[in-house]
């Protein structure tokens, strides 16, 4: 067997010494990123140990008492944290489903626009909201949906009394999901438009010869053509089942809408950094990121198996 290790194999498998002599500049170039990742990504993971403690700031991580899984048990015992998990899943899943379907439909419709200028113009406008911050969008929403906002002025024409939309618990989730869709659908469209443009044009020509109309072409060529992309996007979104969007909700909710709008991330923030329950907050956070990790790994595996997608 040893004799077999000649030729290209020997070049690929250098000893560590040779490798370092040859590639040390590469290791050096990676060093800054490595250091940043260790300090700001991996060091906090060590802090997760707090989730299993009754952390007291004056005792520190080394001095605080271990309480096992107590903090995790409490997650499901407290009405508030339980409700936050429910809200998170409802909001996140609604966002995922709409965020998957709407961009596909919009991309298919936009594909039917043959005027290049018009198509470009529409694209320019629908991508824009993605780049605005949630503070900006929340600022606009608070104005538009306010008592004197443009929506209430419109409703007044129909004799409807002004509604304080952002104070209505029953409407909060809808507002969150729709405003998220407004902000993100254009950007979500990009990958599908790219996939459509990669479809072999001769397929359409052949279909045309066979007398297929545009609808038939869309159903039998375009949609199957972008199917791998749809599958990849659908599976990858699985990892977001517990991501309801902190930036958005924090800037839109209020105690009036906690019952339907409080999500895991906002709850963690209030419990820990506002109320000082560090260990409990960390446990809720770990619960979330642990499930998120499992779901993401599963989704990557499915995406790889089904569509050959790889992260790197």
């Amino acid at each position: 067997m040893k004799k077999g290790r000649t030729g290209p194999n020997r070049i690929a498998r250098k000893s560590w010494k040779q490798e370092i002599r040859h590639s040390w500049p590469l290791y050096l170039l990676i060093a800054p990123a490595f250091v940043f990742a260790v300090i700001f990504c991996y060091a906090p993971m060590g802090g997760l140990i707090m989730a299993f403690q009754n952390y007291k700031p004056w005792l520190g991580i080394t001095g605080s008492e271990f309480v096992g899984l107590n903090n995790f048990k409490q997650i499901f015992e407290f009405q508030e944290s339980y409700q936050a998990i429910i809200n998170t899943v409802i909001i996140a899943v609604s966002k995922i489903i709409l965020g998957l379907i709407v961009p596909i439909i919009m991309a298919l419709l936009l594909n039917e626009v043959k005027n290049v200028g018009l198509k470009k113009g529409i694209q320019t406008l629908v991508y824009l909201p993605h780049f605005l911050s949630w503070v900006t969008v929340a600022g606009m929403l608070r104005d538009i949906l306010g008592m004197d906002g443009i929506v209430n002025s419109l409703l007044k024409n129909f004799g409807v009394e002004p509604i304080f939309f952002l104070g209505e618990a029953g409407m909060f989730r809808q507002i969150v999901v729709i405003s998220d869709l407004w902000k993100g659908f254009g950007f979500g469209m990009i990958v599908y438009l790219a996939a459509i443009s990669n479809i072999d044009q001769s397929l359409y020509e052949a279909a045309e010869m066979d007398g297929a109309n545009r609808l038939q072409q869309t159903l039998h060529i375009t949609i199957p053509g972008i199917m791998p992309m749809i599958i990849v996007m659908a599976t990858l979104s699985l990892g977001n089942v517990l991501n309801a969007g902190f930036d958005q909700i924090y800037n839109l909710y209020s105690p009036l809408t906690y019952s339907t709008g409080d999500i895991i991330d906002t709850y963690v923030y209030r419990q820990s950094l506002v109320n000082g329950q560090y260990s409990f907050g960390t446990a809720v956070g770990l619960f979330k990121s642990g499930i998120g990790l499992i779901l993401t790994v599963i989704s990557y595996r499915i995406a790889y198996k089904v569509a050959g997608y790889r992260i790197f």
Partner: protein, 289 residues
């Protein structure tokens, strides 16, 4: 070419009308905001402003730029955005170049970086680490913790991978070092890609508001995004700096609208450049062979 049938014509017409309406819906909230910011007090307060200012007045903007707190927070935002983008680009370009090569340990390192995308310590542990590093009430908190981002690293790595290897091999044989190759070959050849990533990072930095709220005890050290968050969302009136004299001339609503609009303005300004490249960038990052 087939001639289009009547039903096809009707579809094309309805489709165009629908898409144009949707596109306008993406823009109109911003126009409404702009119209309110330029409107007079009574018009804005009575809610009759739609997409064109009523009783036009630039008072809200004059007042906003006369507010020292606002101008300072804008300066902090500009500073953190430029420094943060520079550092980020340095960290991920160097690592991205190295990781686009084959060498021993590459796969392990790659997983080491990718894992940061899949799992994180979360809010409180990060807060503790940053605080223990002395970043509380420290300007560096805006720059250091966010400098490394794995998603952008992968984007840049993919840009570099698409550059023909022959160029580099020729240079290496001629005795050039990896550093020279990166500077003289890779950076110039991937200018467009790097610019896209840099713009993305800039937008992210400009929009980031939570760090200020979390780590700064004094609102004087807030960048614009955090400052706006406090005014618009938390409804803090102090930082509006609305003295009684000007309160009679304009409304809180017009000032808020003006400030939110100014906050979004840099994004609107870089957007044309951003849009030119990001489609390619996104697709490269999301779809690979």
């Amino acid at each position: 070419m087939r001639r289009s049938s009547l039903s096809r014509k009707i579809f094309v017409f309805c489709n165009t009308v629908f898409l144009v309406t949707v596109a306008l819906l993406c823009l109109l909230p911003l126009i409404n905001l702009l119209a309110i910011s330029f409107s007079g007090k009574s018009a804005a307060n009575s809610g009759i402003v739609t997409f064109w200012p009523v009783d036009f007045t630039p008072l809200a903007y004059i007042k906003t730029f006369g507010n020292n707190n606002f101008v300072r927070s804008m300066g902090i935002a500009l500073l953190r955005t430029s420094l943060g983008t520079l550092l980020s680009m340095f960290v991920i370009t160097t690592a991205g170049y190295a990781l686009s090569k084959e060498f021993r340990g590459r796969t392990v390192l790659m997983w080491f970086f990718v894992f940061t995308m899949l799992f994180s310590g979360g809010l409180i542990p990060s807060y503790m680490v940053n605080t223990s590093l002395g970043l509380k009430n420290n300007f560096l908190v805006y720059i250091l913790p966010g400098a490394f981002g794995c998603y952008n690293l992968i984007l840049i790595m993919n840009f570099f991978k698409s550059i023909p290897k022959a160029l580099e091999e020729a240079a290496l044989i001629d005795g050039a070092s990896f550093f020279t190759v990166l500077r003289k070959i890779y950076l110039p050849l991937s200018k467009a890609g790097l610019a896209t990533v840099a713009l993305f990072i800039m937008v992210g930095n400009w929009n980031e508001w939570f760090t200020g709220i979390l780590y700064m005890s004094d609102t004087k050290n807030y960048p614009l995004a955090s400052f706006l968050q406090v005014i618009v969302v938390q409804g803090n009136k102090q930082d509006l700096a609305l003295d009684p004299a000007s309160a009679t001339a304009m409304s809180e609503r017009t000032i808020k609208a003006a400030q939110v609009f100014i906050g979004a303005l840099p994004i609107l300004l870089v957007y044309p450049f951003l849009q030119k490249y990001f489609v390619k960038g996104i697709v490269m990052g999301a779809v690979k062979e």
